[in-house]
């Protein structure tokens, strides 16, 4: 009897140790994910991708995602090498020893600061929102998106949200061969709940909930205002707000901290301007996917707003970056001491 009791206690102990182990492991996993706001974004976007893939007859396609990833990673790799080479040259020019650059590490050095997470996010957003009749369009859109991130910059910040500019350029150039399908989400409330839940998580760590809500509130106000003016039933603006594309845009595009103004007030102004232009484009010109065009068109406002309302720049990873780093923040490479020679 005593034996049995002891055995039971032992089992119990072992069980609790295992349980604790699981808990610490899951805590550790959670911490690892939470280290970078982009991890949450990748998870949430993967969830949206799966929903679109499984619930819509005209939804996202894995091959499109693959094409987008190929295009995005290629541009990202090329851009990274270009940035590193330029940095090395600058260090050499200023008298610093070449070993001070990342290139000291050889092949790995050339790709130091390779932002695969950002490229993956762009690929996911593209494949969720863009539809085309050839895989080349996703590849091209992703390539353009990431290239724009490296090439079109102002004071160390890229001007356009990559996915947004990729979609806008491709749909302008391709005519009817590439398009945005804003209506194919259906109004499944589960989708909204899912997106909002995940997005809230994302934004709480990327600190961009303000711009998402600012945009949604402004856009909703315009839809309701128009319904009131026209005498439409409120069912119409409510129906218009239940769009999956709107959620993806509000939570994963306009919130991109790297291409939106740094100060909160400026962000809110920016959000309202995008909402107003989007509403105007869709009412006056009946453009489908007007939000994307509005965001791309108004991107030039960001440097202006940053100039008028300056604030601290956002960094993806809460790490102290060298102040001369004007490029996309580095995530994966350990900081190496710079050897400076007079």
């Amino acid at each position: 009897m005593l034996k049995l009791e002891r055995a039971l206690i032992r089992t119990h102990l072992v069980c609790s140790i295992i349980r604790m182990g699981v808990r610490t492991r899951s805590v550790r996993l959670l911490k690892a994910v939470n280290q970078d706001a982009r991890h949450w974004q990748i998870l949430a976007l993967s969830g949206l991708f799966s929903i679109s893939l499984t619930t819509s007859d005209f939804g996202a396609r894995p091959m499109a995602l693959f094409a987008a990833i190929v295009g995005a990673m290629f541009a990202q790799a090329a851009g990274t090498v270009w940035v590193n080479a330029r940095k090395a040259r600058r260090l050499a020019d200023t008298g610093s020893h070449w070993r001070g650059s990342n290139l000291a590490a050889g092949f790995v050095g050339w790709f130091a600061g390779f932002q695969w997470k950002s490229a993956l996010i762009t690929s996911l957003s593209l494949s969720i929102l863009l539809r085309a009749n050839s895989l080349w369009f996703w590849l091209a859109a992703a390539f353009i998106a990431i290239s724009a991130k490296f090439l079109i910059r102002y004071r160390g910040k890229h001007l356009f949200n990559p996915a947004c500019i990729g979609i806008v350029v491709v749909s302008l150039l391709a005519g009817k061969a590439a398009w945005v399908s804003p209506g194919q989400w259906g109004q499944a409330p589960i989708f909204a709940a899912f997106a909002i839940g995940f997005a809230a998580l994302v934004l709480s760590s990327a600190k961009r909930l303000d711009i998402a809500l600012g945009f949604l509130v402004a856009f909703a106000a315009m839809l309701f205002g128009r319904a009131l003016y026209l005498g439409d039933p409120m069912a119409i603006p409510i129906h218009q707000l239940q769009s999956g594309a709107l959620l993806v845009f509000a939570f994963f595009m306009i919130t991109d901290p790297r291409s939106t103004p740094d100060s909160r007030l400026a962000r809110l102004l920016f959000a309202i301007a995008v909402a107003a232009v989007a509403a105007w484009l869709s009412w006056e010109y009946h453009i489908r996917g007007a939000m994307l065009f509005a965001l791309a068109g108004l991107a030039v406002l960001t440097p202006l707003l940053d100039h008028l309302l300056p604030a601290k720049r956002f960094q993806w990873t809460p790490k102290k970056e060298p102040s001369n780093d004007s490029q996309t923040p580095r995530g994966s490479v350990r900081a190496r001491p710079y050897v400076v020679r007079a």
Binding site: F58, G175, D232
Partner: protein
């Protein structure tokens, strides 16, 4: 055989069609019957031809009542000139309806003891739509109503009205026998505030030839907005409205941008008895699938290059028919998208000549709650062909004991019928037991072919060593 199916189709009240007698052996898919839009009472059929900003809308009415009471009220973006309005031959829309209808295909199993060859038959079915709204004569202008234009087109008297206030317009319309349902003020007001005009038509009895059939009205216009106003139809709360939209473009499929577009489930094997009640099957399936989407989806029933079809529910439309429907680009410069005709093989029926036109058939069942907003469309570059197609497989009947293959075939039949019953239940929401009962009555059950009842499927290891 073909003729018998055709006769059956006619007896069912489905639209019949001319069928050149092909040799059954060479033909791997032909049309036996179709599910008519006639199945749906008071459905509207609208053909939208769209290229850039140019649109031709053809509104077909299935109105069967007193022509004196017929009237049509449609919001339009601009004041059309007389040349922009036309009256079309109703057969055009019927032909398009038949061509795009969901279809039933038949295969006949061969004697399993011989080499298995399939023969295919097809049946198709399309519902037909109706457009019935109310209209009448004109009256005073103290109501703030301006008659912008007045035309006589075919049997119709057409007015283009603008107004300051919805109340005035509705009063005027009612005074002139356009029975506008109660509660339409808001909808009419919203269209007026957007600067839209009202296109109203009534039948002029002096010019009407007395036939009960009213011809479709066509309007050609230019506007960036590719939409179809449906909200007036939702005002009179007499249940759901049925609408078929046939969109013809150069580029490809048309989809709704503010409502989800869903493909009608297709390419399923269904029990043989469905042939005799294809109309019922189609109706039940559409209803069941609509419910599954909470009534909030637009169903795509057909999307195909107009140059051919396989199997064909009706011949592709000829160039002259397309031109009459408003396909304005046929004679304009180079034809970009004329896709190479698929290599001729049995079953594919090319049209009279390849055309640069892609047709999408959308089916909507709506009311004010599920579809609060007008339908907004966009043309996509998607040219993937899609059709509503359901397959009948006729079993081979004979002595299932004459060879080993025949025995195995008999067993496979039982599991096949089981699958067919399940997929029919899933498609239509019909009770599985009812379906199985009906199948058994027709001799499609294990006992009917003398196979030991449940014919439990042997595990793979049982088959492996045969013990």
């Amino acid at each position: 055989m073909i003729l018998r199916h055709l006769a059956g189709a006619c007896a069912l009240g489905l639209t019949s069609f001319a069928l050149s007698a092909p040799s059954a052996a060479a033909f791997c898919g032909f049309y036996v019957a179709k599910a008519d839009t006639d199945l749906f009472n008071d459905a509207s059929k609208v053909v939208l031809v769209r290229d850039q900003d140019r649109t031709v809308v053809t509104m077909a009415s299935d109105y069967r009542g007193d022509v004196n009471e017929f009237a049509m009220v449609v919001p339009v973006v601009d004041i059309p000139e007389r040349e922009q309005i036309n009256v079309a031959n109703p057969a055009l829309v019927d032909h398009l309806d038949e061509y795009t209808a969901p279809r039933l295909v038949e295969y006949y199993d061969e004697n399993p003891c011989e080499a298995i060859r399939y023969e295919l038959r097809s049946m198709a079915g399309a519902p037909q739509a109706v457009f019935a709204e109310e209209a009448a004569e004109m009256a005073p202008e103290d109501l703030g109503v301006t008659i912008e234009a007045e035309y006589e087109v075919g049997e119709y008297d057409i007015l283009i009205l603008s107004a300051e206030e919805s109340d005035g317009l509705i009063t005027w319309l009612n005074q002139n026998d356009y029975r506008i349902p109660y509660g339409a003020e808001e909808v009419v007001g919203a269209y007026l505030k957007r600067g839209m005009k009202f296109f109203v038509a009534k039948v002029n009895l002096e010019r009407h030839d007395g036939s009960s059939m009213l011809r479709p009205i066509q309007v050609a216009y230019e506007d960036e907005d590719f939409m179809l106003p449906i909200r007036l139809g939702t005002v009179n709360a007499e249940g759901k409205q049925e609408l078929f939209v046939f969109a013809i473009t150069r580029e490809g499929r048309v989809e709704t941008t503010n409502y989800k577009t869903v493909k009608l489930p297709s390419n399923m094997d269904v029990p043989i008895f469905v042939k005799d009640e294809f109309g019922e099957f189609y109706k039940a399936m559409f209803e069941h699938q609509t419910d599954k989407q909470n009534g909030k989806a637009v169903f795509m029933e057909y999307a195909w290059d107009m140059s051919w079809c396989d199997p064909c529910a009706a011949n592709p439309l000829s160039r002259s028919e397309l031109r009459e429907l408003g396909v304005m680009w046929l004679d304009e410069g180079p034809q970009g998208n004329v896709s190479p005709m698929p290599t001729p093989r049995p079953g594919i029926r090319p049209g009279p000549q390849p055309v640069d036109a892609f047709v999408t058939r959308l089916h909507v069942r709506y009311d004010g709650q599920t579809f609060p907003e007008d339908l907004n469309f966009q043309v996509t570059g998607d040219r993937e062909n899609y059709q509503g197609r359901y397959v009948l497989r006729h079993p081979w009947r004979g002595d299932y004991g004459q060879c080993e293959a025949a025995g195995e075939y008999a067993e496979s039949l039982v599991s096949r019928w089981d699958e067919e019953a399940k997929s029919l239940a899933k498609l239509t929401g019909w009770e599985l037991e009812d379906i199985q009962g009906k199948m058994a009555d027709g001799g499609f059950s294990a006992s009917a072919i003398g196979v030991s009842e449940p014919a439990p499927k042997r595990k793979w290891w049982q088959r492996l060593w045969g013990n």
